[in-house]
Symmetry: C2
Subunit: 442 residues, 2 copies
């Protein structure tokens, strides 16, 4: 733990806005704050922004990790009164108006929590131990390595049960991440792995998607959910509805309906919760998120704001339990809060946040996507094109867009996913062994 | 250590050719052997081929690692009588005609050692401990992380000496790797880092290139060596000639001329040696390489061949100490040996290897390269274009070529190197601490 006074950031005479998190919300805010009124400090645990909607393509060898990550220092080009720090913030000290991090403390005039969300295992430590999350580039890379390692290992065994366990992939959670991941795995199964592993019977590769509720893609229209289910079934994915995952021991998945699936691979896309830092009063926290007013101000904290996944705003009738934990609310709150803070600096009144629902979409695979716009739904090839276009233009950085586009065009015509690379092997968590009796005597 | 009988590869009735290493030579051989005459088994420690000439661009944030790696299973498309195994071969047992690996033994009829080379620290364990090699994608990624971490750390200290130590990069070895790396680092210094770190005085970033002999680019023409030296000096690189690196303790580099450089970063590009496996007689080994006859057959081993960096062929008058350890001899030996083994299978006579020197080249930076063809030398913009063209067409995989081209075009016009990402932080080797006296008493 280092301790650099104020993270070596000079005093400027201006009010200091500290933003924690360079996700969709934090970036918008950092870009749009007036630098003649504020000194802006952006803190992030990585030196890059992660484009989370495409993590599943990294995990399934479709895109290289570097094309969905973009260096924060490159994104924020105007350097006047702007400071970036690579740090992990642990705790808020609102009395002293400070945050504590692994590289020292930093005082603030305004603090914005934009830390996003993290995987929620709902307190099941066994699932947390053995299942694979997919919320960061490192986790997506681990998953990519593991998928490929499984097939290399399967080649070496003649125990068909063990082979099938290695080749069975179970995804918990039928939201967009789960659906898109299941679709991408089915493309690997249908087009690519039979060429790579002619000695393995790839038809014995099983892909299961398990959803606790009666419907896939919660929050999207029934028509889109049904279409996605239909596509997945056509691609050979086993979809289980109304079926929560109860437990997992690294070998067997126990489901709510009493059935079991033998698999060495449980991918956990079943829930997220706010990535909270320590130091907030319990009264300001609602199920892992920070309660905010319509100006994104955290309840009971005058100088602290929260935006994006970590913020729970309750006044929107359409979303009484707060906005969905996706990119759109984060981006819009980042933009609105920047305007509001700029207003504050000019002595003007702040305006309450109003969420504009631009719709949502999910892709299932080649030529197949579903799209809900505010007024109508559509699906199929056109939805798939729109999905690609939207994701391309929202990717951060011209180079990343060009590289992703290059990949997608080549993949489409070659029926391929090219980055099937085990750059760093993934080391599986081994089942806990019972301690030997008499160990102390040795 | 697993033990799968013959790595789970079936007997085919054909003679089995086992190739260890999927570098330039091993790949050519695997592609060109007749599968109706041989069962071909290719073993590699990674599931991908590494395009080593561009590792320096990965280390300096110019190219993503995935664009210079290509899955072996994708490269070798014809699967009949071909087997790939991801394994690390440890030892040869020529009496039993077997190799031993981490996944089991494998018997062979013909064995081809194509294991390439590894970093040579010439027995200096302190340099081996503290210096950074750059022979693999993982090492290049570690270097990329370290370079960027250094600047993030330099921001946090006001100790100017410590800051300068972090911002000083010393490259040992003035061959193509050292020259190209020094050039790429100078581009970071001149165009990119001043924008990223406006608070740091990047003019205090020092780049040193240290060469033990009187001339850079040993083996190239004097004109090219002088031109490279000239370019590097213009770019601000401090070049030390006639100056071997004597020692390094993680803080200070001790040079042969008695001078010292304080630096936290010594990059070791000063030598390679054959990546030998155990089990060969001493009489077959020459300075870490396997002595081979003009048919690439290892001395005293009738069924074992060696190609590329690991092979030392002594009968070429132009190269009495064996061919240079570069891609060209490896590729040509791979092709020739494939023909010769195919001849052997048809009962025809083998032909001795004849190396065709196609010339060599090195790039120093933007618009600046040197190129030696057999009949003439040239340099500058045209040499730089040729360098890019040659490297692009030799990159394995259409996707990789397109992604590298996309990167290079954007870099050229934006004066940028875009993948400045610390995906996995590098953990520096800490100086060894003296053991506490009385530790056992605690």
């Amino acid at each position: 733990m280092l301790n650099h006074k104020n993270m070596n950031i000079p005093e400027s005479g201006l009010k200091r806005v500290v933003i924690i998190g360079a996700g969709f919300g934090g970036l918008q805010l950092a870009k749009k704050l007036r630098r003649d009124k504020f000194q802006v400090v952006l803190i992030n645990k990585n030196n890059y922004h992660t484009f989370q909607p495409l993590l599943y393509q990294v995990a399934t060898s479709g895109l290289e990790p570097d094309s969905i990550a973009h260096s924060v220092r490159t994104i924020i080009k105007k350097t006047e009164n702007f400071y970036f720090r690579l740090a992990q913030v642990h705790r808020l000290d609102s009395k002293l108006r400070k945050v504590h991090s692994n590289i020292g403390d930093l005082s603030y005039d305004y603090l914005i929590i934009a830390t996003g969300s993290q995987t929620n295992f709902f307190g099941n430590s066994s699932i947390e131990r053995y299942a694979l999350p997919m919320k960061s580039i490192l986790e997506a890379l681990d998953l990519r390595s593991l998928i490929l390692q499984n097939f290399e290992t399967a080649l070496l065994t003649n125990d068909l049960k063990e082979r099938e366990r290695l080749m069975t992939f179970v995804i918990a959670g039928g939201g967009p991440t789960g659906v898109e991941l299941a679709g991408a795995l089915s493309e690997l199964k249908n087009f690519i792995l039979p060429r790579d592993y002619p000695d393995l019977d790839i038809s014995r590769m099983n892909i299961h998607l398990i959803q606790a509720t009666p419907c896939l893609l919660d929050g999207m229209s029934r028509a889109s959910a049904d279409a996605a289910l239909d596509y997945l079934k056509k691609f050979g994915v086993n979809v289980w509805l109304n079926c929560p995952v109860k437990d997992y021991n690294g070998q067997i998945i126990y489901m709510g309906n009493g059935e079991e699936i033998e698999s060495a691979n449980l991918i956990w896309a079943a829930g997220v919760r706010g990535a909270l830092i320590d130091g907030f009063e319990v009264s300001s926290i609602d199920r892992g998120r920070l309660l905010v007013d319509p100006f994104n101000r955290v309840k009971d904290y005058d100088e602290v704001f929260a935006i994006g996944d970590i913020a729970a705003m309750k006044n929107d009738k359409r979303f009484p339990n707060a906005h969905p934990m996706t990119a759109q609310p984060a981006i819009q709150q980042g933009v609105t809060l920047a305007k509001n803070l700029n207003c504050l600096a000019e002595g003007k009144k702040m305006k309450p946040f109003r969420y504009i629902d631009r719709g949502s979409m999910a892709t299932v695979g080649r030529n197949k996507a579903v799209c809900d716009l505010p007024w109508f739904q559509f699906k199929g090839f056109f939805a798939w094109l729109i999905w690609m276009f939207i994701h391309l233009v929202n990717l951060v950085g011209f180079r990343n867009r060009m590289v992703a586009l290059t990949n997608w065009i080549i993949q489409y015509f070659q029926y391929n996913k090219s980055v099937r690379l085990i750059i760093r092997p993934y080391h599986r968590v081994q089942p806990e062994k019972k301690e030997k009796v008499g160990l102390m005597e040795n």
